[in-house]
């Protein structure tokens, strides 16, 4: 599977990418939503985007909105990975088209379980 990891924290991108590699997946990374849209424009859709909420330039929720406005990205799953836990904000993300939600901090097992739940557990 091809994943796009979108987080302004290089530390979190590094953690997630290590987990994806261990699970046999391919990846690209972006520091904010705008950069992620540019990467998608240049490389085509990914199987899934793993998206932080609070980022400079373009937030995670703005990315979800922008991605869901593009019909060619309809098949790309979006998982929010964030410390945001307010029910209203989670509902907002899901209503805008996010597929799943994972709260930081998370274990390798929780991460792998979420991917499996989304049908994203097949290695590249």
């Amino acid at each position: 599977m091809r994943f796009l990891v979108i987080d302004d924290s290089r530390a979190i991108r590094s953690l997630i990418i290590r987990m994806l590699k261990e699970l046999g997946h391919q990846h690209a990374e972006a520091g904010n939503g705008r950069e992620a849209l540019d990467i998608i424009a240049n490389n085509g859709p990914f199987d899934a985007a793993l998206v932080d909420w609070n980022m400079p330039v373009m937030t995670g929720i703005q990315f979800v909105e922008a991605a869901r406005a593009k019909p060619e990205l309809a098949g790309m799953q979006i998982m929010m990975i964030t410390t945001e836990t307010e029910v209203e904000r989670i509902q907002q993300a899901l209503a805008l088209g996010a597929t799943e939600y994972l709260m930081k901090p998370f274990t390798r097992e929780a991460f792998a379980d979420k991917l499996a739940m989304m049908g994203l557990d097949k290695a590249a």
């Binding site: 302004d8 924290s9 290089r10 530390a11 979190i12 590094s14 953690l15 290590r18 609070n54 400079p56 964030t82 410390t83 945001e84 836990t85 307010e86 209203e88 930081k104 901090p105 998370f106 274990t107």
Partner: protein, 150 residues
């Protein structure tokens, strides 16, 4: 007024360190020793509660955090790795703390400072919780500062 107990904060800190870094933290007495190099990170919370979360640790410990987070050796750890690792740790602690505060609250982007003999002060705020931990033989302090309601 902050209604989150020391125990709840300790549980959040322990969860963040064990799940993210695979590092066990234990309650300890006293802050990181003075005189040595200390790295601090801070994240502000605004909204129905106003204040900040501050993480301060010995530089050696910050290097270990960065090493664990980036999967690199001590020798490969640079200043930007330490800044990013500490910034993310305070972001996760602040985010989890925020989930226990009355909504809506908003988290700022983290700030990191490092050096010797410095103090982090928030104008109009006072420290309402202070927890000291030991991890890998080094000291770590978590402080919660609360700004008085206007």
């Amino acid at each position: 007024m902050l209604e989150i107990s020391q125990e709840d904060i300790a549980a959040i800190v322990s969860l963040v360190f064990t799940t993210t870094l695979d590092v066990e933290v234990e309650a300890a007495e006293g802050p990181p020793p003075s005189g040595g190099e200390v790295a601090s990170s801070l994240v502000g919370i605004t909204g129905n509660w106003d204040g900040a979360v501050i993480v301060a640790c010995e530089r050696a410990l910050a290097v270990r955090f960065a090493r664990a987070m980036f999967g690199i050796s001590d020798e490969e750890v640079g200043e930007s790795d330490i800044n990013d690792a500490l910034g993310e740790l305070v972001n996760m602690i602040g985010g989890n703390l925020k989930s226990m505060l009355p909504p809506p609250c908003h988290l700022s982007l983290p700030t990191v400072v490092a050096g010797r003999e410095y103090r982090v002060r928030l104008p109009g705020a006072k420290v309402v919780r202070e927890l000291d931990f030991a991890a890998n033989g080094a000291r770590l302090r978590i402080a919660i500062a609360e700004r008085a309601a206007a």
